[in-house]
Amino acid sequence: MKGKVFALGVLLTAIPLFAHHGGTSLYDMSKEVTLEATVTEFIWTNPHVEIGLDTKDDKGKVRHWILEASSPPVMVNRGWNRKSLQPGDVMKVTFNPAQRGGSVGRLIKLIKADGKEL
């Protein structure tokens, strides 16, 4: 899979789809990053669900990310379950990056290879 940054946009307002453990003090809500990624782990856990992802840059260098989703009950209300993602799943994922940098983010949405949006 060719890794590619689809968008790094600055939004005037950001309306979160999910309630998150850490809010604007952890994540830069004014930025959205969209990447093609492969799931490495999907942890259905408290306080919030975690998604591990690998992306590749144009030179094939792998970068590992971890994204915070919402808590399991909120995810259930949005149609997720603990098997919604599997390691190896390929998707386009959009998230707010962490304020402190690093490969950490806050999930906004993801589109699986079959076009299904979660």
């Binding site: 309630a19 453990h21 850490g22 809010g23 604007t24 003090s25 952890l26 856990t45 408290n46 306080p47 919030h48 975690e50 971890i66 915070e68 808590s71 399991p72 009950p73 909120v74 259930v76 209300n77 962490a98 690093g102 950490v104």
Partner: protein
């Protein structure tokens, strides 16, 4: 703090199991009661079901996203309450801080108490009997009992969720609650209260799909006069009740992964 957190965790686990057993016993007693002080369920509105609310951050009607805490205009703070608002560091709202929050529910994994338990975007179930109404939350698997047509205890205990009694007034359940532990916040932005907090709720199913709680908060040490708030919930018919139990062990692991914080105690290994 570590020992304190550990003790709180152990205590909470004990309380959770105690709550499960107590609820079962109370339900059994209620179902078998020969003396039915309340009206038959068929003669009162049906509030039972699973209800889902929205994620608000403040009970201030004018500021549900908590953009101007302490200066909402519709909350009549005393100087004591304003000082508390300024001193707290909530993990939500305009000036939020997650890493160094003073929110007791996040810092110590304290129970939310009431009405904060209903402010998560999660579900609760209402179980209705002639003599008692039970509200059971997904979050932390907590619950409260509303005893119908009874007075308060002579000396109400001080507890996380308070002591609630209720009665029907037409199509509205009127609930009177006292005896709240003053270490809880009313909402995620940190509206404070004392042990003198007195909550009057008017609960009404305004349409088949919508349950509305109108609150009046009366607490003279914290607020110069009673003030009102409202929460609304939508009916869910899929029968699903899941759980989120907020634990120190999960929180330490989260903070290590997402904030790069060194755990203050060894993290429980995953199996």
């Amino acid at each position: 703090m570590v020992e304190r957190c550990g003790e709180r965790l152990k205590m909470r686990n004990r309380l959770c199991w105690s709550a499960v057993w107590s609820l079962g016993i109370l339900g059994f007693i209620s179902g078998c009661s020969a003396k039915n002080a309340g009206k038959p369920i068929s003669q009162v509105p049906d509030l039972s079901g699973i209800w889902l609310g929205k994620a608000i951050q403040s009970l201030s009607p004018s500021d549900p996203t908590a953009q101007k805490p302490g200066a909402e205009g519709d909350i009549p703070y005393t100087p004591w309450a304003i000082a508390r608002m300024k001193a707290e560091r909530p993990a939500t709202g305009r000036n939020q801080t997650f890493a160094n929050t003073t929110d007791p529910a996040l810092k110590y994994a304290d129970p939310d108490g009431y009405p904060r338990a209903s402010i998560h975007p999660m579900r609760f179930k209402i179980v209705q009997t002639p003599d008692y109404i039970y509200q059971i939350w997904e979050y932390n698997k907590s619950w409260r009992q509303i005893a119908l047509n009874r007075p308060h205890s002579e000396v109400p205990d001080i507890s996380w969720f308070g002591e609630s009694v209720g009665k029907w007034e037409g199509d509205t359940l009127v609930v009177d609650s006292v005896g709240f532990n003053d270490s809880t916040w009313l909402d995620p932005i940190g509206h404070p209260h004392t042990e003198d907090l007195h909550i009057i709720e008017r609960i009404r199913r305004v349409d088949p799909e919508t349950l509305v709680f109108n609150f009046t908060f009366d607490d003279p040490k914290a607020y110069t006069k009673p003030w009102d708030g409202q929460l609304a919930f939508k009916l869910k018919t899929d029968g699903i009740m899941t759980e989120t139990i907020y634990t120190i062990s999960d929180e330490l692991r989260f903070r290590q992964r997402f904030l790069n914080e060194k755990p203050t105690i060894p993290i429980r290994p995953s199996h």
